[in-house]
Amino acid sequence: MAEVMLGTATAEAVALAGEPAITPELVREHNLTVAEYERILELLGRVPTLTELGVFSALWSEHCSYKHSRPILRTFPTTGPQVVQGPGENAGVLRLPDGWAVAFKVESHNHPSAVEPYQGAATGVGGILRDVFTMGARPVALLNSLRFGPLDVPRNRYLFAGVVRGVGDYGNCVGIPTLGGEVAFAPGYTGNPLVNAMCVGLLRAGDLIRARAEGTGNVLLTVGARTGRDGIHGASFASEELSAASEARRPQVQVGDPFTEKLLLEASLELITSGLIVAIQDMGAAGLTSSSAEMAARGGVGVEIDTGLVPTRESGMTPYEILLSESQERMLVVAEPARVDEISAVCARWELTATPIGRVTDDGIFRVTHHGTVVAAIPGQRLVDDCPVYHPEARESEEVRARRTMAAPAVEIGPEEALARLLGTPNLASKRWVYEQYDSTVQAATVIAPGGDAGVIMVPGTEFGLAVTLDCNARLLALDPYEGGKAAVAEAARNIACTGARPLGITDCLNFGNPEKPEVFFQFREACRGISDACRAFGTPVTGGNVSFYNESPTGAIDPTPTIGMVGVLERAADRVGSHFAEPGDRICILGVTVGRLGGSAYWAELVDFVGGAPAPVDLEAERRLQELLVAAARDGLLRSAHDCSEGGLAVALAEAAMGASYAEHPLGAAADLTGYGDGIAPDALLFGEDGARAVVSLAEGALGALAELAARHGVPLFRAGAVGSAGGALSIVAGGRTLTWDTRHLRRTWLDAIPRRMRHADLDRTTGA
């Protein structure tokens, strides 16, 4: 092995020749407050070097330190018999049958995608993949949650097209199926799109590896790509509001290389399963700095790194640049010195290099040398843990409070036209234009592909299946963050349960505006309270996630958008249930109660541009009963389809089930008669109200008795609504004594074409809209 040369240990670090003096302006440019800088002075007992200032700036950024969110995140339920690894590692891990475990995590890449959509989104996928395979898990599914401003704005089309292409190109090349997610459009995301990527991996529970540096004298190695000047201070960039000046941040957006990622994936898994290494961590946000400092802090040890040994893409890089670069596809590995040759051999087979750059020490100091000069020497534990924690003021905005009691303008069109119009809006339209750009069947394990309630994969060599989803209805949170937070978890759990899977746990990506604003922090605090309450009620612990604050641009803050990534397990994958009506003549039932609440509904938002009214309160007990019923009914083989009823209400849920699967040759149509269900509710509220805890199911007539009995036992109201039609048949719904009918082929065309027709000339939007 190469000998690691390090300067003599000293507590003092010295400035390199030509480094600027530390001035208040320089401190401000590093996004550190006066109080934070004073804490640094106290912690070091001296003025930091420029390198040290950069290190603090990165690790004490909101993105790395969670300084505004930590106290709230501690209130999440994180334990349960299924939990193998809770928050604090690269990904959470839950137990599965037969000695298997699932590692999963969601993360945001919002700000990079706002200025460079293709690379921003691509590297977001790359980062979340590495978070999962560094746990020793093989990635088996990707999901993404995307939000943009309305598609009639050219720049929004440019961002949407670029993000989708970036997500697709990266995941497709690495060979991970994209199984689901969501795309939504609302004015608040103009200027600040959201790109949340989730990865799910499988591992043998015994192969789990944690990112914890241990063993004095052990070697630190970088594996993978060389370090360049891209992405320097990405973590700080993610921790400020977007502005007109953000375009100048474009060079800070990293560039992805999915081919190297694929090699890194295979090499990392081989290193982990062969037991050659002690620990491994992705060099993600804040690059070498955060990966080394966090691994050292977790292991309670110090580290010494010689930046002069780090392979760089260009000559003359300073230690500051090397420490803060966010060049992609790099790993930091800790190993015993005797293993270095074997590690290099594994890496060489995958055409990668492993380079010793430092070692684990016992003095607890995070020390960096550059060709013999100590340029940083910081007490390691305090560097990671002593970032100030803030408890911002929280106050609900008066405007939001008023909007909950505001009356909606009248919807002047009838329900027939309303449904057709809703299905033609980008929010409710088929997302096929998006997921056709993602390989959804690679790995030959896809049981339910995108377009259903949740994605389902099988696990070769076992009976069980894994269901995955990523959900959030931000409109509900904008009006009532507590109920909206509950609703996001409830919807994710309903989606999982509709496939027949039992919800196991969540990861969350908490996208909010500037937490220093009381009305934003109120949204954050209340949304988290709602998520916590729902997770406790469902027994689905939070295993980790990501907080993304400062999602604001000159056009304002985004709607609060905590996306909920959930995994569930199907005891037998063969019991999975699809979302769409499957057999002519099957019976249709509605599970759950409709009250007809239109607050925060798509009906009002899309048809009369009104985001108001109080969203339906979420009855967590009713949700849990419905989930258990759906799981039991699938296990007993009673259901031919089950579809969650949420955005757009009962009418949209019935239409989606009737229009058929994405590639069905013919929609089947359906005849539903709601007479005797929700009597006394106005027809539009009955059809388009967004009460929770409901699902539309279909089943063979012979199974009806068994389902009714099972529903009674679970305390879930069941209404026999009608029957599935024949190929190409119409959709008819009797509501309020009137029979409404739609041509399903026409509806399907509207629904399928809504996004493609808006994106036909997206390639021209860069120049017209940027």
């Binding site: 090349c173 790995q443 030959a444």
Partner: protein, 239 residues
């Protein structure tokens, strides 16, 4: 009689495990062969799997064709051995001139992942003998560069010699266009003149059990198993 299958892994292959499992599912003895190897280890059947060998940099398949293992693949093919290239494997076979034509960027300029209807035309190959001529299948495609292109003469030759193995079928024109990428003559897969080397863009290895949506792709694997016991299909194919 057991059949030995070699699945070649290039850096960036990502359908290697899928092809291996499909081969094992029909009872073949299947193993990986690394691209730097020079021997196929006595395999009867070679599969070049899908993926992004060398990241598709330069041009899909353009770098992989120079891998050391390709000399052994060529000898195997020249000796009449069965070779199947799926997706990126098809691209590599074209780049290596084991098959004519080229696979270009999709006409729609976007990656396309969806099930497509295809018809099996040439059944006298070691990978399609299990299908009836004209059999209609639905197989998934997932590619950004799958538009088959050839000179007018080459395309005419492929048609005249009956070397189109798979052709995109016309879907319901109102619902789905059949041809997902703008391929000439709606070509989804071709063979060499002898029929032992086959390249296809769709992924039969992804539809080999009802749980995966269908088992319509299984025939590509049962075909070569049957070929091991019965008369080699090469003999019955002359026309």
């Amino acid at each position: 009689m057991s059949r030995r299958v070699a699945v070649v892994r290039f850096p960036g292959s990502n359908c290697d495990a899928d092809a291996l499992r499909a081969a094992q599912l029909v009872g073949a003895e299947a193993d990986y062969v690394w691209h730097r190897d020079t021997s196929l280890g006595g395999a009867d059947v070679v599969i070049l799997p899908g993926g992004f060998s060398y990241g598709d940099y330069l041009r899909s398949g353009a770098i992989a064709r120079f891998s050391p293992i390709m000399a052994a693949v060529r000898s195997h093919a020249d000796a009449g051995g069965a070779v199947l290239g799926i997706c990126n494997g098809f691209q590599i076979l074209c780049e290596a001139h084991l098959l004519p034509g080229a696979l270009m960027r999709n006409a729609g300029l976007s990656f396309v992942s969806r099930p497509v209807p295809v018809t099996v035309e040439r059944t006298t190959t070691p990978f399609t003998s299990a299908y009836a001529p004209g059999a209609r299948l639905t197989l998934p495609v997932a590619h950004g560069e799958g538009r088959f292109a050839a000179t007018v003469d080459v395309a005419r030759m492929l048609e005249a010699e009956g070397r189109v193995v798979l052709r995109y079928a016309k879907g319901d024109p109102a619902a789905e266009p059949g041809n997902p990428n703008g391929s000439a003559h709606d070509i989804a897969g071709i063979s060499n003149a002898e029929g032992n080397v086959v390249g296809i863009m769709p992924h039969p290895e992804r539809v080999v059990s009802p749980l995966l949506g269908s088992d319509e792709g299984l025939g590509f694997f049962t075909s070569f198993m049957a070929a091991g016991t019965a008369t080699p299909p090469m003999e019955s194919m002359s026309r």
